[in-house]
């Protein structure tokens, strides 16, 4: 039977001790209660008697080293059965209990942090006393997790055939907002198909894109169903009286959402001008900070590169976002005939906490209705 010799607790508030001298060499015989080593703390110096009779098989802490109370100093292989607890001169010495590894022994701070950040604590290597996972271990793990996601191949090893693109501030912000939005809202996306014939006809001879028409139709639909133009608040749903439409604008290295203020009060020409101006200045990074704030509803025109559908992520704290797909000529059935029409899909992602499918579909139906009407002259 082996007996572990640990640094004893030699007084209150004493956290460590220094091994001054080993009085028995490794391999030497030792009697129970015979002096085994000299230990010094900042308050006392004394000889520690052996808790057992046997052979000193191993010295872990050499003379001159200072170690915390409870640290394993040496091992004695007993030649006779002995007490497992250490006794020092008749006083029971209580080595600091090592904290067992594994689940169920995490501190409140560690549990709280792991929960908030979705960390599986069994994956975290503990560096604390007895292998305990400390709060800092969890923080380091979270930081490391972020880095690893970027610099390692799926098999976990670094590859020479890779390059690391440093995270720009914008990239970090986008990443953070997108993830947070998905954690915040109950995303559902619904799709409608729209016939853009009347708009296509109206655009002939005019330098207008489809986008201002969509903005116009959206603001009309919001006036019909104001709850879509709202935000979730703990005290209730905050319905916004003003209609400010954000226009997601792709940049070379990211994305910005400049806002057309009071879009419902503007005519098509004005909307077209503002949308073009904002997009231009977003790309040349000349927007003022307030021009990307305060949006109440967002439109993302993902069709520019040919995309038909999308499942856009809501721009918090708004509750809905409209994706506009590519407008292509398709064969459609009209009455009993087949026609060729410029068609496009609208994708509306909405927060199911705030509105239900019926309201969302009603809203998107209204957008479709406004887009397919043919009185564009009147709102030029």
């Amino acid at each position: 039977m082996a007996t572990d010799i640990s640094m004893p607790q030699l007084g209150e508030s004493i956290a460590e001790g220094t091994v001054v001298k080993w009085l028995v060499p490794v391999g030497g015989m030792i009697e129970k209660d015979q002096s085994l080593l000299e230990v010094e703390t900042e308050k006392v110096a004394l000889e520690i008697p052996s808790p057992a009779t046997g052979v000193l098989t191993e010295i872990v802490v050499q003379a001159g080293e200072t170690v915390p109370v409870g640290t394993l100093l040496a091992r004695i292989a007993s030649t006779t059965p002995s007490e497992a607890i250490n006794r020092v001169g008749g006083v029971v010495v209580r080595p600091m209990e090592p904290i067992p590894e594994g689940e169920g022994h995490h501190s409140p701070a560690v549990r709280q942090l792991a929960k908030a950040q979705g960390v599986d604590l069994s994956q975290v290597k503990g560096t604390g006393a007895g292998g305990r996972v400390t709060k800092k271990d969890v923080q380091d793990f979270i930081a490391q997790r972020g880095v690893q996601a970027n610099v390692t191949t799926p098999d976990g090893g670094k590859s020479m055939g890779e390059e690391i693109l440093p995270l720009t501030q914008m990239r970090r912000i986008i990443a953070d907002r997108m993830v947070r939005s998905q954690q915040t809202s109950a995303h559902v996306t619904t799709y409608f198909e729209v016939d853009f014939s009347s708009i296509a006809k109206f655009r002939e001879g005019r330098s207008l894109t489809y986008l201002p028409f969509v903005v116009r139709a959206v603001t009309r639909a919001i006036r019909d169903l104001p709850v879509v133009n709202s935000a979730w608040g703990e005290q209730g749903i905050i319905v916004k009286k003003d209609i400010h439409i954000g226009i997601a604008t792709a940049l070379d290295d990211g994305l910005l959402v400049p806002v057309v203020r009071h879009a419902d009060r503007k005519g098509l020409v004005q909307l077209a001008k503002e949308v073009a101006d904002l997009a231009e200045r977003a790309r040349s990074k000349k927007l003022d900070p307030e021009e990307v704030q305060g949006g109440t509803f967002t439109i993302t025109n993902h069709g520019g590169f040919g995309s038909l559908f999308s499942t856009p992520i809501i721009y918090q704290p708004q509750i809905a976002i409209l994706g506009v797909g590519a407008i292509q000529k398709r064969t459609v059935v009209i009455n009993e005939g087949i026609a060729i029409r410029p068609m496009g899909y609208l994708s509306l992602s909405f927060d199911h906490r705030v509105i239900d499918g019926a309201t969302a579909d009603q809203f998107l139906g209204k957008v479709k209705g406004y887009l397919e009407q043919s009185h564009w002259e009147q709102i030029l």
Binding site: P68, S107, P108, A109, Q112, A129
Partner: protein, 332 residues
Amino acid sequence: MTTEIVQGQQEVTYLEAISQALDEEMTRDERVFLMGEDIGAYGGAFKITEGFLQKYGEWRVLDTPLAESGFVGAAIGAAMMGLRPVVEMQFADFISCAFDQITEVAAKNHYRWGAAVPMVIRAPFGGGVHGGPFHSECPEGWFFHSPGLKIVAPSTPYDAKGLLKAAIRDPNPVLYFEHKFLYRRIKAVLPSEDYIVPIGKAEVKRAGNDISVITYGAMVHLALEAAQLLANEAIDVEVVDLRTLIPLDRETIYGSVRKTSKAILLHEDNKTGGIGAEIAALLAEECFDCLDGPILRIAPPDTPVPFSTPLEEYFLPKASDIVAAARRLARY
């Protein structure tokens, strides 16, 4: 520390800061008067009121007999009649003679019939001056348990002056614990204009991220010394100086521990049932979710303060005790 310091001004000691506060308040408000043993002709056991008798006369600087219960009772009466007495205990150790007057009368009058008791009791406390068991005590714990009192314990000349002025202007009975060890050992340049340090506001004397050491009085300086040593080991200690014991500035205490997740409570009063015990309980109740290690207390053992110099040195907390405890917490 927060007020701008006028260049070229003379440094004053902690003791002089107390003296200045008394002088300025007596000049500002003629209701303020002093009572205590040997404070008049002799100028006080520590010479804090030297010259006051000549300046303010015997009606405002009253030498009292050795009868703490009697003169604290008289001060309570004067306070209730509209005066602003400042009573000096020659040593805080003697305050127990007036225990009944302080805890049963001064502390409860307002509760019982709404009568304000705007008085201050100055109590020179603490060890490290080889004063033995009757001249070194930290008796704040007894009063900490008594509702109806305010208790302050400054650690710097700036706080000593500002807190004494705030105490004199406060409508409640305030126990002002001034640390004898600091009297002539620390100096600072003080603002020339009138200022107070609000009662109930702790101050972070050193910001850090790893461990909060929460303390007051002379121990603040010990904590700062230990923090300096620990900085060499990359252990970043925050030192919170409570300054006021009642009412405790919970916001600052919780804010610090929520940041560091580890707390050491350090005081010179006995460990059992001390202020550290109360704060430990508050942290367990209010900050449990942020704790990442045991709450540790560093305080002297539950014995009288020894007279023997080596024993007193052993008895009092030392920077090495804080270093050892901080290392243990850092490793935990």
